[in-house]
Amino acid sequence: MSDFPRGPRAPRRSPQVIRSATFSQRRRGFDEVEVRGFLGQVASQVEAAEAECADLRAENEQLRADVDRWRTELVQREENPPEINERAVALFSQAQQVADRLVEEAVQHARDLMAAARAQEREIIQRANEAAQSAAREAGTRSPGGAAERRAGHGGGGYDTPVPDLEYVRTFARVAQVQFRSVLEALSEQVDRLGQVPDLSEAQRPGWSADVSWHDGSGRDELDGYTDGYTPEPPDPARR
């Protein structure tokens, strides 16, 4: 009767079984003490190997769990942007507010300058007006409505009748306007590039032709792709 029958595929044996193994007796056998000692060593080695194996298995499981956790975190990170740091948002907001304030101040400054210029403009007109009025009073002349030009749609009354001096100031202001604008125009290179002098319409008094020119540089305005069923024709003079 033996724990170690000769044969293939012996089952795995625990260190305990190795230590207390018994063997069938034969003539010319080994020294039993030696055999026992050897079996003890083998059993100890198997014991150590098994312990090491268990440690490694535990460590392996720990590592596998770590890898899984990192992997899901990586996927999440790819799907969602990283948490934006609140302090960074606050800092960025501050910078944006500084930029906004600077732009706003520049705009406000420009606005104030323009407003001051406009107030000055009003004041100058007012003063010129008063000067003309008092000059007219001194001269004692009061000419009835000699407006140098008829304004369209002049309905209703209740405005001061202009006096020649006032009219002179007004005309002077208008001429100055036109000259000022001519200077502006001359300064711009647009004229050269345009190849045609812009029409300073206000410089010339309009002739009272009944032709309304809706479109500079083209005789007639016509429709295209604008379905109104009209075919443009010259107006019938009888309808005037």
């Binding site: 944006q96 323009m114 407006a147 443009p232």
Partner: protein, 391 residues
């Protein structure tokens, strides 16, 4: 979706005022630095628009039918700012982060899911509207500046020639971007009815301190290429067979869309001999700002057209003086007339009030207001309305 929860949480968030959009945009640019360049340097105008648009959407989220056209319009408007479908995800993430920041412990997983679903719906509507529009119209049209005329000290008349066909109706407006001021779009109105050669005239008023109008009046050159958005607006447009009489009230360059409508009426008159009786009041501060006097005086020889000028800041002016709304309201019996009003927001508000006092019913007074999608009036308004994309 719990719409009541959305609305009550938005009310809590909105209490933080300007800090909300400030946080939102900072978060957005930190998480997606590449989006920063879609916006102008100064973000102050931008912030009101975001809150305004979101507030409007959230308050009507339970009547999606009411608010859907507004959202679709926002989506179409955003095309010209080079906003693409991917940007919506970034905006959504920053929006949720912003709500979470301001709601603190009130930010529950359920609320987060509701907001996420609501935003998904908004983004989908915007993207769909943009994609549908992309089938028929470009994101913007380029046009060349072919003429510039400095009509007064602070009004310039520009002529543009779009490179591709640009269809619009007299009385409409569009947003325009000039190369000197990238990402700052401003609304202008063609001052002419559509022409065969496609050219468009704009009246540009220099706005005190205005970044864009100043640069257009001072430094736009013939040969410059500008970008135009799609034409919008219906309040000042008239059908070709419009019946009834008209009262037009224009402040400064608010004249532009009304001039276009007048041209439309005049073409009709030239062909049929008929046009609505129309009285135009043009109001300016000083007499020399009456920059269309010549044309309008000539047009006043037409049997159907009357023209009155009003000057507000020159006490010596020998014609009608005062705010144009006041002058127009007392200038005749306007009962039964349809009024078209255009000018600065203050001028429009004042004029509408005066006309109502004078007995014109409110539904017969027409003026452009584009709400959160931008107020339109030729450059008086240095603002457009959008949530993303450049101004």
């Amino acid at each position: 979706m719990d719409t009541a929860a959305l609305q009550s949480s938005w009310q809590i968030v909105a209490k933080s005022g300007d800090d909300v959009p400030l946080y939102f945009y900072s978060h957005l640019f930190l998480s997606h630095p590449e989006l920063r360049e879609l916006f102008p340097i100064s973000m102050s105008a931008q912030r009101d628009k975001l809150v305004g648009a979101l507030g409007r959407i959230v308050s009507q989220v339970d009547q999606l039918g009411e608010v859907a056209p507004f959202i679709a319009q926002l989506g179409r408007e955003h095309r010209r700012f080079s906003v693409v479908a991917e940007h919506y995800g970034a905006v959504g993430a920053s929006l949720l982060a912003t709500l979470k920041h301001f709601l603190g412990p009130a930010w529950t997983p359920e609320l987060a899911a509701d907001w996420s679903a609501a935003y998904g719906l908004i983004a989908q509507t915007m993207v769909q509207a943009a994609e549908e529009a992309a089938d028929t119209t470009p994101a913007w049209w380029s046009a060349e500046v072919t003429a510039i005329e400095r009509r007064t000290l602070d009004v310039s008349v520009l002529r543009l020639e779009p490179h591709e066909r640009y269809d619009y109706r007299a009385g409409q407006s569009f947003a325009m971007e000039v190369p000197q001021r990238p990402r700052q779009w401003r609304y202008f109105s063609p001052a002419n009815a559509p022409r065969r050669d496609g050219s468009i005239e704009l009246h540009v008023q220099l706005v005190d301190g205005g970044q864009v109008s100043t640069s257009i009046v001072r430094s736009t050159r013939v040969g410059d290429t500008v970008r135009l958005g799609a034409p919008i607006g219906t309040a000042l447009t008239l059908p070709d067979d419009f019946a009834g009489d008209l009262l037009m009230v224009a402040g400064g360059t608010g004249l532009a869309p009304l001039r276009a409508v007048l041209e439309q009426l005049d073409r009709r008159w030239q062909v049929t001999g008929e046009a609505p009786r129309t009285h135009l009041f043009h109001g300016v501060r000083l007499p020399w700002s009456l920059y269309e006097r010549e044309l309008l005086s000539q047009l006043a020889h037409r049997p159907w057209f009357d023209y009155t000028e009003a000057v507000s800041d020159d006490a010596s002016y020998p014609g009608p003086r005062g705010p144009v709304g006041t002058v127009a309201a007392r200038g005749g019996n306007w009962r039964g007339r349809t009024a078209l009003v255009c000018g600065s927001p203050a001028m429009v508000e004042h004029t509408v009030a005066k006309l109502v006092e004078a007995g014109i019913s409110r539904e017969h007074i027409r003026f452009e207001s584009f709400g959160a999608a931008g107020d339109v009036n030729q450059s008086q308004q240095e603002a457009t309305g959008k949530v993303m994309g450049s101004e």
